[in-house]
Amino acid sequence: MGKIVLNSVRKSFGEVDVIPGVDLTIENGEFVVFVGPSGCGKSTLLRLIAGLEDTTSGAIVIDGSDATALPPAKRGLAMVFQSYALYPHMTVRKNIMFPLKMAGMDLAEATKRADAAASVLNLTNYMERKPGQLSGGQRQRVAIGRAIVREPAAFLFDEPLSNLDAALRVNMRQEITELHQSLKTTMIYVTHDQVEAMTMADKIVVLNAGRIEQVGSPMELYNHPKNTFVAGFIGSPKMNLIEGPEAAKHGATTIGIRPEHLEVVSEGGWSGVVGLSEHLGSDTFLKVTTDAVGTINVRAGGEVMLRHGDRVNLAPQANKIHRFGADGKALA
């Protein structure tokens, strides 16, 4: 079981309200991702749930019982830290068995569980090594192993992949997703990488300055961003947000159009000059300075062979235009 409910949880460090008040329900077995720009309070929120920070006010309810005042060890949660936080003087085996030893489990049972975790995580051959003798990816797996042996109610991950190189990150991302599918345990995952958020999450929580901007499935957030912040944050390359007369034509203060929803047409639309073109093979990313709407990003097919200085006409797909009011909120 691992249902976590936050009731107007607030956290302030001295004068500063880092989390002004958050309400959130995380269902049992869900993979929830917290995303947001740097400094928005993702780690703080996670640490509040873990019990590593005291809640200023509000309540954290885990599986129906109030856990706000419980120490971390009593909450039945396991955390994987960004720096892995392995114990450097212990072997991999001892690291993985440490929580079991602290729980007073007998050695035979603990060894059995550690071996099982090691075989799931492909660590069997490294059990007698120290963390210093492992690669980044292997250390990450040890940290996960140390978390899963306890069979926690939920896993908390704080940017676990940010120290890994791009290829390994994709790999570990898939491993963690698979782990979630086989364990079916609640996982809360903090990242500022929105590709991780989009690919892994059942539910994404977009945070901005300690506030929840929107909660929803990845596709919900992509298709129906509630406001300009979410619209600009989810999706890569970023959505183009256009103000002025073009927006007024659609009866909005701001309109948003994703780079992949702009088409290169022979005439009509917005005319402009290509500033930058990046050919990735499968896609071509263009930065176009238009006369009507300023500089916008375009994601065109790989076959588009435009270069710097070429003139193009761009047309947005009419049904993919997002409209936002003066307060930044989406218009129905």
Partner: protein, 290 residues
């Protein structure tokens, strides 16, 4: 320094300093060795001729010698035990975020800046003195007899004074070690269900072993030669109760004016230091490797 050539270069680069240090060390040692086998008494005219091993034998036959050896080892061991236990505890304490942390730390460190004879003098006259001392005043205030520290417990008193001087050093090293412990490791242990005591035992202490090794090795070197504190307070007495090897050598050199014997004592001290160093390195040296 991983490759063959970089190692060779490194050796070449450090060679000059190694050579200078070696000469710096070997010349006095050779002179001491020379005098140790000579008859060289400042108070008598026969100052030449070989003494054979008689200078050394004098020590082994002297009833004070074994006492001095054991006093030396007791002093080193006692001070090490006190400074390490209390050093770790004080370091843990002043590592906590408290109001006035900066000045507090400076206060804790300050005994280290007091010169040994001054420190010993302060303790002897202001604290341990049976008439004027603060401790005596306290004892009298409680209706008890003042304790004659330097007469009845000379070794313990000397150990206490030396520990007071060296505690800041140990505390400082332990404090820096504590500060280099990542807080995430402690938090991870907390999440893993470790109590404060378990965190200390399984996370903090293993992290500190290297610092403790450094403190033991450095302090041992200095403590084997402790002299000023004894000279200022007990003068090796009562009788020979607090005479250590360095103090015994001093008595031969300065009081008896027998340079040959003093040199032989010096050689014995060097051998003793090497024996101690050998056992220390064997038992603790592995903690210095990464």
């Amino acid at each position: 320094m991983a490759t063959q050539s970089s190692r060779a270069t490194a050796r070449l680069m450090v060679a000059p300093s190694v050579i200078v240090l070696f000469i710096w060390m070997i010349v006095p040692l050779a002179l001491t060795l020379w005098f140790a086998f000579r008859i060289y008494r400042l108070l008598s005219p026969d100052r030449n001729g070989w003494a054979g091993f008689s200078n050394f034998l004098w020590y082994f036959n002297s009833p004070d010698f074994w006492l001095a050896i054991s006093n030396t080892l007791v002093l080193v061991g006692g001070v090490l035990a006190i400074t390490i236990v209390f050093g770790v505890l004080i370091a843990l304490l002043i590592d906590q975020p408290v109001w006035g942390q900066g000045p507090l730390r400076i206060l804790v460190i300050s005994p280290f800046f007091v010169m040994p004879p001054v420190a010993a003098s302060v303790w002897e006259n202001l604290f341990m003195h049976p008439q004027n001392g603060l401790l005596a005043a306290g004892a009298i205030g409680l209706g008890m007899q003042p304790i004659l520290f330097l007469e009845q417990y000379p070794m313990s008193s000397v150990i206490f004074i030396v520990s007071w001087e060296w505690l800041p050093f140990a505390t400082l090293i332990f404090l820096t070690a504590l500060q280099s412990l990542s807080s995430e490791q402690l938090e991870a242990a907390e999440m893993d269900g470790a109590s404060a005591l378990s965190r200390f035992r399984y996370i903090v202490m293993p992290h500190m072993t290297r610092a403790i090794t450094v403190v033991v090795l450095i302090q041992t070197i200095f403590l084997l030669g402790i002299f000023g504190e004894i000279f200022t307070t007990t003068q090796g007495g009562p009788g020979s109760a607090s005479t250590t090897l360095p103090y015994m050598i001093y008595k031969q050199a300065v009081i008896a004016k027998d340079i040959g014997r003093a040199a032989a004592g010096g050689i014995i001290a060097v051998i003793l230091a090497n024996i101690v160093a050998f056992f220390l390195m064997r038992s603790m040296g592995k903690h210095l490797d990464t």
